[in-house]
C-alpha cells in the first residue's frame, strides 16, 4: 500500500469504501443464493418490495443512527421514541380530533424536542451519549404508557386512506396461481425512506456539515484544531437522529396503523446492528449511508431466508441474526487489523 494513503484519498481504498464493498457483496451473494437455492418466493420482485415495505421505518432510524455513530456517539432512544410517536399520533387522530397533517407535525415535533434536549446534553454539557439516550429511552417508554396504555387500531378516515395508498412499480408484477397479473407495489413510507437515504448520502458526502461529522468522529482534537465547531456538529448529529426517529416513527405508524407500547421494541438494537453490518463503526469516523441501507436489507433478508428454510422455532431467527452480526464484525475487525499492520 502506498505511503501517503490518507493524504491522497484516491490511492488505495478507504476504510469506509472497503467496508461498504464487503456489505454490498455479501448482500448480493445472500440474495442471489436465496433466489437460486430457495427459489419460489425470492424470485418474485414483490418479496424484495415487501422487505422494503416492512423495513422503511428501520431504514430511516438506521440512517439517523449511522450519523450519530459516525460522530462517535450513540442513540439508543430511537426505538421507544418510535413507539411514543405512534401512540401520540394514534391518540391525536382518534381521541383529540386531529387530522393527518397535524399528526405529521406532532411526530416531527416529538422528534425535534427529543433531539434538542439530547443534543444539548451530549454536546454542551459533555454527558456521555449512552447515558443521555438511555434516559431518553426510559422517558419515551414511560411517556408512551402515560399517553395511553392500551393498544388500539386507528379508525380515523383520512389516515386510513393514507395508509391504504399503494405505489405500483411498473413491469415488476408477477402472475399468481390463478393466472392473474398482480402488480408489485411499495408503500409511501418506502419513498420517504429512499428520499432520506439519498438526501443523507449527498449531505454526508458533499456538504460541509456532512464532512464535519466524519472529522469529529475520527479525531475530536484534530477536528477542533481544523476550526470545526465540535459541539455544534455533535448537537446537529443528535438533533438529526431524533428528528429522523420522529419521521421513522410516523412511517412505522403508517405501516402498522395502530398505537401500542410494544411497537418497535428493540428497534434501536436493530438499527445499530444494521449500521454495523453496513460498515459504520461505533468508534466513529467511518461509515456510509448507502452501507446502512444495505445493512437493513441484509438483516431482513437473512430473517426471510431463515423463515423460508422452515426453521420455525422462534429462536433460530435471533441466533442466525446474531451469528451474522458476529460474522460481519469479525470480517471488519480482521480487515482493519490487517490494514493497520501494513501501515
Amino acid at each position: 500500500m502506498k505511503k501517503n494513503n490518507s493524504l491522497k484519498g484516491k490511492v488505495g481504498i478507504s476504510d469506509t469504501n472497503l467496508l461498504l464493498t464487503i456489505t454490498i457483496a455479501v448482500f448480493l451473494l445472500m440474495y442471489v443464493s436465496a433466489v437460486v437455492f430457495l427459489g419460489s418466493g425470492f424470485t418474485k420482485p414483490q418479496t424484495f418490495f415487501n422487505i422494503l415495505n416492512d423495513n422503511a421505518a428501520l431504514i430511516i432510524l438506521s440512517c439517523g443512527m449511522s450519523i450519530v455513530m459516525i460522530t462517535g456517539g450513540i442513540d439508543i432512544s430511537v426505538g421507544t421514541l418510535t413507539a411514543l410517536v405512534c401512540m401520540s399520533c394514534a391518540v391525536h387522530l382518534d381521541y383529540n380530533g386531529g387530522n393527518v397533517i397535524t399528526a405529521m407535525l406532532l411526530a416531527l415535533g416529538i422528534g425535534l424536542a427529543f433531539g434538542l434536549v439530547q443534543g444539548y446534553l451530549v454536546a454542551y454539557l459533555d454527558i456521555q451519549p449512552f447515558i443521555v439516550s438511555l434516559a431518553g429511552m426510559f422517558f419515551a417508554k414511560g411517556m408512551t404508557t402515560i399517553v395511553n396504555s392500551t393498544q388500539f387500531n386507528v379508525a380515523h378516515e383520512g389516515f386510513k386512506a393514507l395508509k391504504a395508498i399503494r405505489i405500483y412499480v411498473p413491469f415488476m408484477g408477477s402472475i399468481n396461481k390463478k393466472g392473474i397479473y398482480v402488480p408489485a407495489y411499495v408503500e409511501p413510507g418506502v419513498i420517504v425512506a429512499l428520499l432520506v437515504v439519498v438526501i443523507l448520502f449527498v449531505v454526508l458526502k458533499w456538504t460541509k456539515t456532512g464532512r464535519n461529522f466524519y472529522a469529529v468522529g475520527g479525531n475530536v482534537n484534530s477536528a477542533n484544531m481544523l476550526g470545526i465547531n465540535v459541539r455544534r456538529t455533535k448537537f446537529i448529529a443528535h438533533l438529526m437522529c431524533s428528528l429522523l426517529a420522529g419521521i421513522g416513527g410516523f412511517v412505522y405508524f403508517m405501516h402498522v396503523g395502530s398505537g401500542s407500547v410494544s411497537h418497535a421494541a428493540g428497534a434501536e438494537m436493530n438499527a445499530i446492528a444494521s449500521s454495523i453490518i453496513g460498515g459504520t463503526m461505533l468508534s466513529g469516523g467511518v461509515g456510509n449511508i448507502a452501507g446502512t441501507f444495505f445493512g437493513v436489507l441484509s438483516l431482513s433478508t437473512i430473517k426471510n431466508i431463515v423463515s423460508s428454510l422452515g426453521l420455525d422455532e422462534a429462536w433460530w431467527t435471533n441466533i442466525t441474526v446474531a451469528a451474522m452480526i458476529c460474522l460481519f464484525l469479525l470480517i471488519q475487525s480482521l480487515v482493519l487489523l490487517r490494514k493497520n499492520k501494513k501501515k
Binding site: 454539557l125 449512552f130 414511560g142 407500547v261 454495523i276 464484525l329
Partner: protein, 365 residues
Amino acid sequence: MAKKNNKKGIGSIFAGLFRNQIFIPLAALLILVVFNLIADPSFFKITLGQNNAGDPILSGNIMTILNNASELAILAIGMTLVTAASGGQDISVGATIAIAGSVILRILCGAAGPRPETMQAPIIVAFLIACVVTMLFGAFNGALVAYFKIQPMVATLIMFTAGRSIAAWINNNQLPVIKDVSFGYFGNYIPGIPVPTPVFIAILCMIIIALVLKFTNLGLYVQSVGINSHSSRLNGLNPEFIKFITYVIMGLCVAVAGLIKVSRISTINYSVIAKDIEMDAILAVALGGNALGGGKFSMTASILGAYVIQFLTTTLYKFEVPSDALPAYKAIVVIILVVMSAPVVREKFGQLWKKIAPEKAVKEA
C-alpha cells in the same frame, strides 16, 4: 489537593466534595431519604411478620430495597470492572442471565421432564455448571473485545440478540418448574432467618470483590489498562488478557444473579427474566460517577448507585406510579443526576461555592 482544601477552609472542602466521586450517589441517596422522611416517615418502618409458611420475616420498604437491589448490585460489580478496563459496557447481561437460569433449571430437571417432583441434581452442581457456561459466554464477549478489538457494546450486541433465544433453546422452549422448596431458599427466605437470602448473597459478593481489590493488583491493572492500554503494555502488563478477564468475571456475576432470579420464582420466563437489567446496571455504574469511557473506577460508588436505583423505584411505587410509567420518572431523575454531575455543571457549582465561601472562611478564621 486535599491539603490545599484543608487550608482554604470549609468552603473548599465542600467544593472538593463536589468533585469527589462518591458524592453523587451519596447525595442522591440522601435526597431520596430526606424526601421520603418528609413525605411519609412510615416509609422506613420495618416490621417482623410471618410468611405463609409461618416463618418470621422482616418486611418493610427498606427490606424490599435491599432484597430487590441484590442482583443489580452484583451485576454492578462486574459492569464496573468491564467499563473500567475496556471503556465500554456489556449489554448482554440480561440475556445471559436468561441463559444461566435456563441452564440451572435444565440441570435440576435432568431427564425427568419439565416438572420433576424432586430435583435430579444437587443445586450446587447446577450452579457451578451455570457458572462455567456464563463464564464461557463472558469469554466469548471478552475475546471479541480484547483480541478482535471490537467495541464492547457492539461485541455484546451479539449475545444480546441471541441470548434469550439460546436460553429458550436449552430447555426446548418449555417452562420448567422446580417444586422443591429448598431451591427457593436462594431467592426468598431460609426458614428461621428473617432477612431475605439475596441480601446475604449480595453482601458476600461485595466482601469477595473488596478482598480481591485489596489483596490483588486487579483493581490497579484494570485502571491502568482503562486509562492507557498502550502504556500499560510498556509497563509489562498484558492489556488484552486483563480486558478478557473482566468479561469472565462479569460472567460469574451473571451466574450468581441468574441463580437468584430463577430461585425467586422457581421457574423462568425467557423473554421477561432480567429484562432491561443491563441498562440499570450501566446506570448504576454511571450514577457512581465512573467514566463510561474507562479508566478510574470506584466500586463502592457503583454499588451505591445500584441501591439508589432500587430506592428510587421503590419510592415511585410507594407513590402509586404505575409500573409501566415508571421509566419516565426514572428518566427525569437520571437526567437531573447526570446534569448535576456533568463536569461543566460541577465546575460552575464549584465556582459559585467559592464566591460564597470566602466570607465563611473569614468568619472561621
